[in-house]
C-alpha cells in the first residue's frame, strides 16, 4: 500500500516537474548585452507580439479609428501637415516636413516624416520620388518636373526603382502622358481650394497607372494627390491639411 502510494507520489512529482518544465519552456527567454538575442528568442518575442495582437483584436481594441478632423483644430497647428493614406492597407498617418533642399536635378525636394520618424516620403515638386519604412519601398525615381512649377511638368518617362521583397532593386519604367483636366475646386477639411487637376496616365510593366494632382501653381503647392508608389505599395493619397 505504502509502496503504491510512494509510486503514485513519484508519478505526481514527475508530472509536476513536467508541468513546471513546460511552463519554463513557455516563459524562458531573455537576453542582455550587446549581442543580438539568439534566434529562438527572436522567434519567441515575435510570437509573444502576435499573441498580444490577437488578444487585442479579440478584446476589440485593435486599429485606432481615424480621429474626426476639424478646421478649428487644424488652425491651431503652426507647421505644415501632410496626410497620407496607403489605400491598399487602409492605413494612414500625419506627416511633418523635416527636410527641404535641392540637388542637381530640377525641382525642390521635401522629405516628410511620421511623428516617430519610422516612415518617410520624399517628394520632388510634390511628385513622389521615394518612400522609406513601409516595406517594398520606392527607392528612387526620375520624374519630369521643372523649377517653380508644382506637379509633373510634362509626359514622358517616369522611372521607379523598386526595392523588391528579396532586397534586390528592380527598375520599372512607365511611359506617361500628362493631361490637363482644367480647374477644379476641392475641399479639404472644411476649406475650399481652387486647383488645377493634372492627370498622369502611364503604361509599363504590364499594367497601367493613373496619378492625379490637384495643384495651385500660383501658391506653388499641391493640395491633394493620388500617386502610385510601386507594385508593393500601390496608391498613396496625399492631402495637405496645413499649408
Amino acid at each position: 500500500m505504502g509502496e503504491g502510494l510512494g509510486m503514485s507520489r513519484n508519478r505526481l512529482l514527475r508530472r509536476l516537474a513536467g508541468l513546471g518544465a513546460a511552463a519554463l519552456l513557455a516563459l524562458a527567454g531573455c537576453s542582455r548585452g550587446t549581442d543580438a538575442p539568439p534566434t529562438q528568442l527572436q522567434l519567441l518575442n515575435a510570437a509573444r507580439g502576435s499573441v498580444g495582437q490577437i488578444a487585442r483584436k479579440a478584446r476589440g481594441t485593435a486599429a485606432p479609428t481615424r480621429p474626426p478632423l476639424t478646421r478649428a483644430a487644424l488652425d491651431t497647428v503652426t507647421v505644415p501637415v501632410l496626410e497620407v493614406t496607403v489605400e491598399r492597407r487602409d492605413d494612414w498617418a500625419f506627416l511633418f516636413r523635416t527636410l527641404e533642399r535641392s540637388d542637381s536635378s530640377p525641382g525642390r525636394i521635401e522629405q516628410w516624416n511620421t511623428e516617430d520618424s519610422n516612415v518617410t516620403l520624399s517628394l520632388r515638386n510634390g511628385v513622389l520620388i521615394a518612400t522609406r519604412g513601409l516595406g517594398g519601398d520606392l527607392l528612387s525615381s526620375a520624374v519630369q518636373v521643372v523649377d517653380g512649377q508644382p506637379g509633373p511638368a510634362s509626359g514622358g518617362e517616369h522611372l521607379q526603382m523598386i526595392r523588391n521583397l528579396d532586397y534586390r532593386e528592380t527598375a520599372l519604367t512607365l511611359s506617361c502622358e500628362l493631361v490637363d483636366l482644367g480647374p477644379e475646386t476641392i475641399e479639404i477639411v472644411e476649406r475650399r481650394h481652387a486647383t488645377h487637376h493634372l492627370q498622369q496616365r502611364c503604361e509599363g510593366g504590364g499594367g497601367r497607372v493613373v496619378n492625379d494632382y490637384w495643384t495651385d501653381p500660383r501658391a506653388g503647392i499641391i493640395w491633394k494627390s493620388r500617386q502610385w508608389a510601386g507594385p508593393h505599395l500601390g496608391y498613396l493619397s496625399l492631402r495637405r491639411l496645413v499649408k
Partner: protein
Amino acid sequence: MSQPILRCRRSGAALLRAAAAAVVLAGAVATQGISQNLAEDGALPPDIGSEEPSFTPLPATSLNFYGSPGGIDMPSAEMLPDGTFATTLSGFGGQNRITLTFQATPWMSGSFRYHQMRNLNLFGFKTYYDRSFDVRFRLWREGRYRPQVALGLQDFSGTGLFGAEYIVASKSFRTPAWGGLARDGGRLMLTGGVGWGRLGSYNSIGSLGRRPTYSGATSRGGEPSYDQWFRGPYALFGGLEWRPNDKLGLKLEYSSDTYVTETQTTSSFTRRSPFNFGVEYQWKPATRLGAYYLYGSEIGLSAQIQLNPRHPVTRLAVPAPYPVQPREQWAGPPESWDTAWVDSGETLQGLRARLAETLKRDGLVLESLEVGAETAELRYRNPRYTAQAAAVGRAARALAATMPASVETFRLVPVSDGMALSAVILRRSDLEALEFDPRSSAALLAVAGFADAAGKPGPTAMAGPGLYPDFSWSVVQYASPSYFDPSLPFRLDLGVDLRATYRPAPGWRISGKLRQRVWGNIKDGRLSNSVLAHVRTDATLYAQEATTLENLYVARQWRPGRNLYARLSLGYFEAMYGGLSGEILWKPVGSRLGLGLEGNYVIQRDYDQRFGFQDYDVFTGHASAYLDLGKGYAAQVDVGRYLAGDVGATFSIDRTFANGWSFGGFFSQTNVSAADFGEGSFDKGLRFRIPLSSLLGKPSRAGLGLVIRPVQRDGGQRVHVPGRLYDQVREAHRSGLEAEWARVWE
C-alpha cells in the same frame, strides 16, 4: 585512346558527379541572367481587379506525388519558378512521401524525399522508410509551337527502389477562364513522356539492354546507380491538367508504373487501372491541396507548399533612416568650415558620444572612432542587419548627422569580434548629392571605394564608450531534432540553453553554453554500427545526460597582415569535441577567391559532456578554397584530414539570395571505402537557411537553418569550431556588399 576511357570507367561515379557539378556551375552563370531579365521587366499580369503593374507571381506550377512538377504520379516538363523551395506531402495506398524540392537554377531542380511504405513487410521492416534524391533538367523551353522538354532522374542514388528515368514533353494552351478569377486566363497543359525503371514497368513498348536489379539485402545505396539509368523496358505515360482559374486544377493521367514491389511482391494495395484522376485547389498563395483517385482503387491526398525567396511571406519594413542634410544648409559655405575643433579632446569625445547614440538607434555598436579635420574612420559592429550594405548606409548617415562640416571622407569599417572586415570609403559630398538621385543606389556604388581595413584602429582612435569589457548573456529554449531513425524517423529534444559571452578586449572572446534538457527522445535512438572510429555516430550516447556543457572556449581573432585573417580557439568547441584550433584566411576585399588553412588537434569528449575526455584524439584540418561565382552562387572545396583520420576532399555549392535565403549541397570523398563507410557509401547532404527577417518582417541577422544528411556516418566528418572566418568575412567584402547594395539607402 583506350587508356583514358578505361580510366573514365574506373572512376565513373566521381566523373559523373564532377560533370554534373560542372554543368550546374556553367549553366548557373549562363542562364541566370535571362531569367532575371525576365523578372525585371515586371511583365506579370496585373492583380485581379486592378490594372497596376504587378510583381506578384502567378499561381504556382502544380506538383505530383513525388514533389516534382507534374500530374498525379507522373512527371511533366514544367519547372518551378527559379529559387523555389517546395515541400510536398502526399499519400495513397500506404505510400506516404514527403519531398523537399529546390529549383536551383531556372533549368535544374533537385529533390530529397523521405518515403514511408506501410504494410510492406519487406527487407525485415514492417513499415519501410526510404530516402531518395531526384534531379531534373530542362532540355529546352517551351516555344510557340514547340513543347518544353525535360529529363529527370528519380531516386538516382540510394537504394534505387523508386528508380526511374524519363524524358517528358509538355505544352500549354490557353483556354477560356471558368468558375473564378484568372489573372492569366485558363490554361490546359498536355504532357507525354517515355520512362524507364518504375516508369517503364507498365505496358512497356520496348527495352534498352538489361537493367540491373535492386537487392534490398546487399545494396548500401548512396552511390549514383548510373549502370541502371535508361536501361531495361521503357513505356509511355501521359496526362493533362486543366486550370480554368487561379484556384482550381483538374488532372487526368495515364500511369506507366505497375507498382510491382507494392502490389505483386507484397500487397500494399491493389492496382486495377492505369488511370488516375485528381482535383486541386490553391488554398493559400503558397499552399495547394489536392484529392485524387488512383489506380482504380485508392484515394490519395496531397499538400504542396511552395516558398519563393523572391516573394517572402512577410515583407521587411525597417524604420526610415536619417536624411543626409547638405552641409551648406547648416554650416554655411565651405570656406567658413573651421577645423580648430580637432584639437579639443572634449569636442572629440562629445562627437563620439553623439555618434554612439545615433548608431544605437539603428542597432549598430560603435567600436572605435578616429576623427581628423577631413576624415573619420568608424569601426562598428552590426548585430542587426542581414545586409552589411544596410549597416554601411546607416553608419554613413549617422556620421553625416554628427560630424563637423569639415569632415569630408568617411571610412566605414565593419568589425566582427574585434576583427576588421573591410573598409568602405564614401565621400560626404557624394552622400549629399546622391540621396535623391534617380538611380541613387547605382550612383553611390559607382563612387564608393572598397579597401582592406588596417588590422587595428589608428593611434588617435577613441574606443566605443564603455564597451570593453563587454558581457552578453541569454537564457532561451531550444529544440534539437534528429531525423531518419528507421524505428522513429523524427526525434526531438526540448530544453533551455544558458549562453554567455565575455569579451575582455577587442578580438578576444570567452564563450560558453550550458544546456538543460527538459524533455526528449533522442536518447532512445539506435546505437552505432560503424566500423570506423565512432566520431559522429554516438549521438544517442551523447544524448543520455539532461544537463550538458555544449561549449566553453576562448577565441582570439585578429588581422596578421594585409588581406589576412586569423583565429585561434581553445576549449570545448561542440558537444563531441574539444581541443585547439587555428585558422588563417587570405581574402582580398575585391577578390572572388579566398584561400584558407585550418588545423585542429581535438579530443573526443565524454558522453556526459562535462569536462572529461575519452581516449580518442586526432589531428584534423583542411586547406580550403572559396570561390564566389557571382549571381549568388558560391563554391567551396576543402581538402584535408577528417575526424576519423580519413583523408579526402569535400565539395560544396550554395546559392544565396540577396535577402539571405540560401540553399546548397555538399559531398565528401575520402579514403574510406564504401563498405567501411556503411549505409549511403559516402558523406553527403543538403543545407538551407531561411533568414528570420523574411519571416518576421523585422531586421535580424538570425536565421533558421538545417543540414540534412540522409545518413549520419563517421567518414568525411569535420569538427564544428565556432567562429570560422570565411562566413564572417565574405559578406563584408566587395561582392557581398554589392549583392545587397539596394539596401544602402534604405
